[in-house]
Amino acid sequence: MSAVAVNQQNFRTRLAGLGLRELTLIPALILIGFVGWLNNPAFLTADNIVNILQQSSELSILVIAETLILLLAKIDLSLESIVGFAPMLGAWLIATDPSLGGSGIGLNPALAIALVFVTGAAVGAINGFLVVTMRLSPFIVTLSILILLRGMTLGLTNGTTLFDLPDSFLYLGNAKWAGVPASIWIAALLYLVFGIVLRYHRLGRALYAIGGNPEAARVAGIQVDRIVWGTYIVAGLLAALAGLMLSGRIASVVSSQGQNMIFYVFAASVIGGVNLNGGRGRLIGALTGVLLLGVLQNVLTLSQVPSFWIDAVYGAIILLALIFARLTGDRSADN
């Protein structure tokens, strides 16, 4: 074993001993922040940090949803289309002027908000039905749903953006609680709740059990089918919430809302240590993945990287983060 390998081994053992195997991204996070601060001292202002957190909040909630699914060794690509479709359906039903793309129905906003969540849950339930009952491949099922919902989002309003939405509909995305955007509070609360459930509740542990060995889980008396189905529904609900928050933050519903988000969801989950083969990974790790992406985006913008090049730099740095995570002893990127 080479000296480097021994060092990695030591580092990993030490982190694992502290129960912090999932925090191997923290050094990378600090490094990128440091570079950002060198480039532009504005990086380290309270406003900018809150800004990063707020912009990451919707992505972070989607990452919770995807992590639950990935722990089961399943996959859900349709989450980003729920982010677009569920709020669009709600806003369309609220809007009174058909000439601006609305339905002309003028639905009560409270009902519309409820409907946003029902839509998310319903899409999750359909995914669950197709995956559990019909035994179809989760990849192709959720890909089809993704395309279908993207198309329906466009079709609903002929591609127009819906503005002038009631305050209650936008509340979750633009309210401030104790001076901090509500979306940050919500995301933080969800991480806390789901983190605890995954660690200390039977259902959370069942996800790990099923992802690790579904047949053994069934033999041990875990109701595998029911839990997989339920998890797809919860993921759909979370995606609907993320969509509502995103609409609130930008005060409108764009027909492309959520588009391409799923790539960043996967990038954040995987560099955060969630294994695509199921059964391994923790929410705290996934959160560091989200923060890494958020900080990176911010630093690239502040560093005045030409906007057309940002995505390329972004992709390259995600790759580097994966390699870095591997060198510090993380095994989640194993195929």
Partner: protein, 497 residues
């Protein structure tokens, strides 16, 4: 004199420190059908792997027609010498019969596939051997019987004149078995040499000329004409001398009490039928039978993994709903599955979580798991079973096989079950762990748990007060305490001793 078609000379095989074959020598003359028999673990499969080039002997040699066997990893040369028909198909399911017949060695140019020529050649082989199969059919659409036929045809197409049949009838119906035997007789007439492995001794008598018996990796009978070796003699050679073992004291049973487990008229067409028995509290009953006899499915029906068509199961007098594992657990049925890696352990979870999985409900309210309570419960089991791990927090996948099995046992016992269903509970664990596992079962038994041990290993059945023998899905015999090992094995193998 004509050279032997196959000759094995002084072959030894070691896996690590374990010697599985001891100085094996045997000779099969050209055109002879030789039977190879032995109990599980006698070394048959290892010998087949060596004869087909999948494994290399640690010492000794193999010759085909007086020529040394090809070097290992020259699979093409091996396939020209020998072919093996397993229970499981080795065809590529998505390819056609014609493609499978010539897998990777298409007629004509080696780089390009000449489809018309491929079909013509394939059809010629099928006609020559009267196989009656459409060469354009996909392998996955064939029945087991047809697949075997294609495998035989493939071997012949490659010019191989030595074919090994490894339990070929396990998945066949009786009519198909008759047709297979007809084909085998034809191969014999055409001078093909055969090695035929089966648990069903009747088949050996039906189609083999001579027989070789293995036991514990040694040749017991090198070569005897079947006519000279009646069944009792074969069974004796397979079993050997009975080993005297310290018997555990038999529990005192309350005959009047409601049995812990009552099975009545359990029926699943094609798998098992008319299965009825009882197990008293504190009793240990064996359910023995060959692989494929249906005994494991009976166990799965009791624990809720398989839904039988009809019949009833009562646990301590209460009726059990079928096909529902949690419901069976609530009634007090625990299960130790056979395939530890595939169905037993939850690899990513810790030893403590694996141990307490069945009692999670008692570790906190509303499904929450209090870490303190879980660790205390796990610690009790961990100590009682003397699991060897760095700590109860270690992922269970890192443990040795024997310790993993103890963890699976511990999980089954955690809920203090009324009925414990164990399928091959000591398979693949070392001798020390084996004894430890028997001790654990005995302790549970003393506490009033009824145990049902599903196995065909005499070793695992030796603590049973009674043993029921399942043959082809029916209970055919019951042995009372003090059963005779040889008679039991004869019943399991389906022969009268």
């Amino acid at each position: 004199m004509q050279p032997a078609a196959v000759e094995v000379r002084h072959v030894n095989k070691l896996f690590g420190a374990v010697q599985v074959l001891h100085d094996i020598s045997l000779k099969i003359p050209q055109g002879v059908a030789r039977g190879l028999v032995g109990r599980n673990g006698a070394g048959k499969s290892t010998l087949v792997s060596i004869l087909t080039g999948l494994a290399e002997p640690s010492s000794g040699s193999v010759l085909f027609g007086d020529v040394a066997a090809p070097a290992r990893r020259t699979s093409e040369e091996w396939r020209n010498k020998v072919a093996c028909v397993y229970q499981r198909s080795t065809l590529v399911p998505t390819m056609t019969v014609a493609e499978n017949l010539f897998a990777n060695a298409y007629p004509g140019s080696s780089r390009w596939v000449n489809w018309s020529r491929l079909r013509v050649e394939a059809r010629r082989i099928c006609e020559e051997w009267e196989l009656g199969i459409d060469v354009d059919a996909r392998a996955s659409d064939l029945r087991v019987e047809q697949r075997q036929v294609v495998e035989i045809a493939r071997a012949l197409a490659k010019g191989s004149r030595f074919i090994i049949f490894d339990e070929p009838t396990a998945a066949l119906e009786s009519k198909e078995v008759a047709r297979l035997f007809e084909r085998i007789r034809r191969l014999k007439r055409d001078g093909v040499t055969l090695l035929y492995i089966s648990h069903h001794l009747q088949e050996i008598y039906e189609i083999c000329d001579s027989v070789t018996v293995l036991r514990d990796g040694r040749v017991i009978v090198p070569d005897a004409a079947v006519a000279d070796l009646p069944k009792p003699k074969i069974v004796e050679a397979m079993v050997g001398a009975e080993i005297a073992r310290a018997a555990r004291p038999a529990p005192v049973l309350d005959k009047a009490a409601t049995p812990a487990l009552t099975v009545e008229g359990l029926n699943l067409p094609g798998v098992f039928g008319d299965i009825s028995f009882t197990v008293a509290a504190g009793e240990q009953v064996g359910l023995a039978g060959l692989g494929g006899s249906g005994k494991e499915q009976v166990a799965e029906a009791i624990v809720g993994l398989v839904k039988p068509k009809s019949g009833e199961v009562h646990v301590a007098g209460k009726p059990l709903g079928f096909g529902n594992v949690p419901a069976a657990q609530r009634l007090g049925v625990s299960y130790v599955p056979r395939d530890r890696r595939g169905r037993g352990i939850l690899p990513q979870l810790s030893v403590a979580e694996n141990l307490t999985l069945t009692v999670q409900g008692t570790l906190g309210r509303f499904g929450w798991i209090a870490p303190g309570r879980m660790n205390a419960a796990a610690r009790r089991l961990y100590d009682a079973l003397s699991v060897v791990a760095s700590s109860p927090r270690q992922p269970v996948v890192e443990l040795s096989g024997g310790n993993q099995q103890k963890v699976v046992m511990g999980r089954a016992l955690a809920s203090s079950p009324r009925a414990l269903v164990l399928v091959y509970p000591t398979q693949g664990v070392d001798v020390a762990a084996k004894e430890a596992i028997f001790d654990i079962v005995a302790k549970a038994q003393a506490g009033g748990t009824a145990a049902l041990v599903v196995s065909d290993e005499v070793d695992e059945l030796r603590n049973c007060q009674r043993v029921l023998v399942v043959f082809k899905g029916r209970i055919v015999r019951e042995f009372a305490a003090g059963w005779n090992e040889r008679e039991l094995i004869a019943a399991i193998e389906g022969v009268e001793a």
